[in-house]
Amino acid sequence: MMHRKTAQFLIPVLSILSALLVSTVIIIIAGRDPVMIFQKMLQATLGSRYGTGQVLFRMTTLILVGLAVALPFQVRLFNIGAEGQLQMGAFAAAMTGAMLPASLPSLSAISLCVVAAMGAGACWAMLAGVLKVRFGVNEVISTIMLNFIAQGITGYLLTYHFALPSTVHTSPVIDAAIIPSFSSLTGLFAKSPANFSTLLSPCVALLFWVILFKSRFGFEMRATGLQPEAARYGGINAGMHTLTAMGIGGAAAGLGAANILLGYKHYYEAGMTGGIGFTGIAVALLAGAHPLWIMLSALFFALLEYGGLTVNAYIPKDIFMMIEAITILLVISFSAVGKRLQQ
């Protein structure tokens, strides 16, 4: 099926190009020179060592939250809750990291914090899975609600129990729990928040690809997503796959939280996730929920997110949020058109 493969590749590329075209028009209407804006953006991101580091840092989180959305998506579950899972993961990592004895060796401290973040993310996502399997609650609704609840819980615990006096953040994690940044060890990417998690995220994407497309577990998992009834006849436990897909997805979101918290901020702060969990939905959709394509898709969104910030002085960064949204709308529309054409 050559047609299908080319369509899978062509649709995202066309969507990105059309979205860039639309944004060019908007920049012109706003009275700015689009060539100048895009040039500045490129200079400030891939053109500078600090900017590249910023893009890599954002890309890392986006790969992981993208995977958090993509894996459940393969089982036909729409995880809107990556944001909540990210918050719970970050909070758990901050709490664990702050409470560990300062004498702990670095490797165990980091591991404990990462496990805490992944566990918290996984539990939060699996809650939606349990509601679905046990009571048939639609996961779109439950994950949205769980986002609000996560916001409430972390907000309450922060404000009333764990915030340092007259600040909106917790006490920092012990030094041993900090994931070292590239600049601190090698001097690369000049003082940017890019840290060693960046090396981990492609491995996670690769692992997800192996699970989905190369393992027996993934064979069953995808079958459950494609034809749930046939899966039941084939002796596949669909409920189990719903739970594990949500759980593994939530764990990936937790890992994304570890990148921000242990690699950059080192403490939990109100609003620190800043909606990046929702951008994860866009990352997964643009990549067609394919773990390997997610790396490219995350790079694209990281460029837009940080690039938008760098040209904020000339043009509001909201324009780049529009590009993100337009790209996704186009991907969805083009896929629908493509399907109709194939029939």
Binding site: F219, L226, Q227, A230, R232, Y233, G234, G235, N237
Partner: protein
Amino acid sequence: MGVAVRLSSISKRFGTFAANSNISLSIEEGSIHALVGENGAGKSTLTKIIYGMLQPSEGEVCIEGKPVKFTSPREAINAGIGMVHQHFMLIPTLSVAENIMLGNEHASLFQRLPLKEIKALIHRHALEFGLAVDPEAMVESLSVGEQQRVEILKLLFRNASIMIFDEPTAVLTPSEIEHLFATLRTLRDTGKTIILITHKLDEVLAVADTISVMRKGEIAGTMPANSITKPELAQMMVGRSVLLRVTNPPPNPGNTVLDIKSLDFCTPQGERKLHNLTFKVKAGEIYGIAGVEGNGQSEFLQALYGLAPAGTSLTGEATLKGETLIGKKPAEITLMGVSLTPENRLRHAVILDYSVSGNIMFGRHREQSFHRGIGFDNDVLNRYTRQMIADYDIKCGSPESQPLSSLSGGNQQKIVLARELSRPDISLLILAQPTRGVDIGAIETIHNKIIEARDKGIAILLISSELEEIIALSTRIGSIYKGAIVREFTDKEVAIKKNSEYEFKKEIGLHIT
């Protein structure tokens, strides 16, 4: 008599695949014209073109002498063409009269619906065409045969002069089929043109005036029905001579494998689908369950395979070699040595987006021989797939990469049967409608494989609404009606009655209606 439908050099291509190529055909006004052919021969595509659901890539359609280019069924309906689909297009919660009017209300927005006229019309047609049905009844309360009458009344209400019937007898009982044929003949005698799509040769010969045989998207021939015999028709359909009957050497049954004792099935809605169902299947025999669909066969399979919906009340016993099946999960039941070929295979037995080889092991993917590491052994799988493709004559180019959905319907069916019939270490093989949707050439292969499995000592439970198939294969036959076996024919009875197949069919027919 004029020509109702004339097709000139019609071709229809989907991508590079030609579903219809260069078809020219004239359908006489006031005749019953049958289109027969194997699955994938292009019958449905051709009728969809006539009915405006598809547009031809080339060629011209003329209706009553006028060239037409329909872009939607609505235009075809306005031109006097009607279609009775295989799956009825009725709204179950509306009454018969309301369904007949739907989409053609003969009333403006706030006007009262002309219910009285509809009732008068139904009454008139009931007398004339044998289409008796209560106009006030809810469609959901009607039998399948009555629902079909509603569909025909719909066409009459719209003044359709050309009526297309897509596999109209698939869901009917033998007596309902007779009734339908009488209606079709009366309709023809009043000047309506009937286009009948079917693959049942007996029925074509019984009711059609003219027969067109389709093969591989082309018309293989058109002839008057009284000038051709069944074997000749079959040969034209597949392009070679086929055995319509399988050689069935005497069976040698052993111990009881499946034992069903007073099984009752009550749906969560409180409907009782199985009544005290009791029978046994022995090793090395084929137990045929004959019956019209909807008499508890589906529910029985659900109960047997651990797939009954939550809230179902199940009582009674179902044991495999003494071990109970009730309350177990499908995966556990498979491990006990049970294979199930469900009737709705495209929905329940395959993953359409998976490759052909992925489907060859779907449901059997827990078998150790396919495993390597955390994944599958592609060498073993590919070798196995190639062997199945050769054994069952499955037409497919690249089984490792081609998705199952790109195969023709018949080949998709064969993949499921190849997979289930070659499962290792099974003691019970459950086959629901094993040859439905499969072409004549493949039926022969499948029947031989079923007999082969029986001779290996496997107990086989065959559920089929094709009486010919049941009689040709079964060692013993149970007639199911309203969730109970109402009459069981012993092996001796079957062996004797088989010799006069027509009489036997009639006798079974009496028990299942």
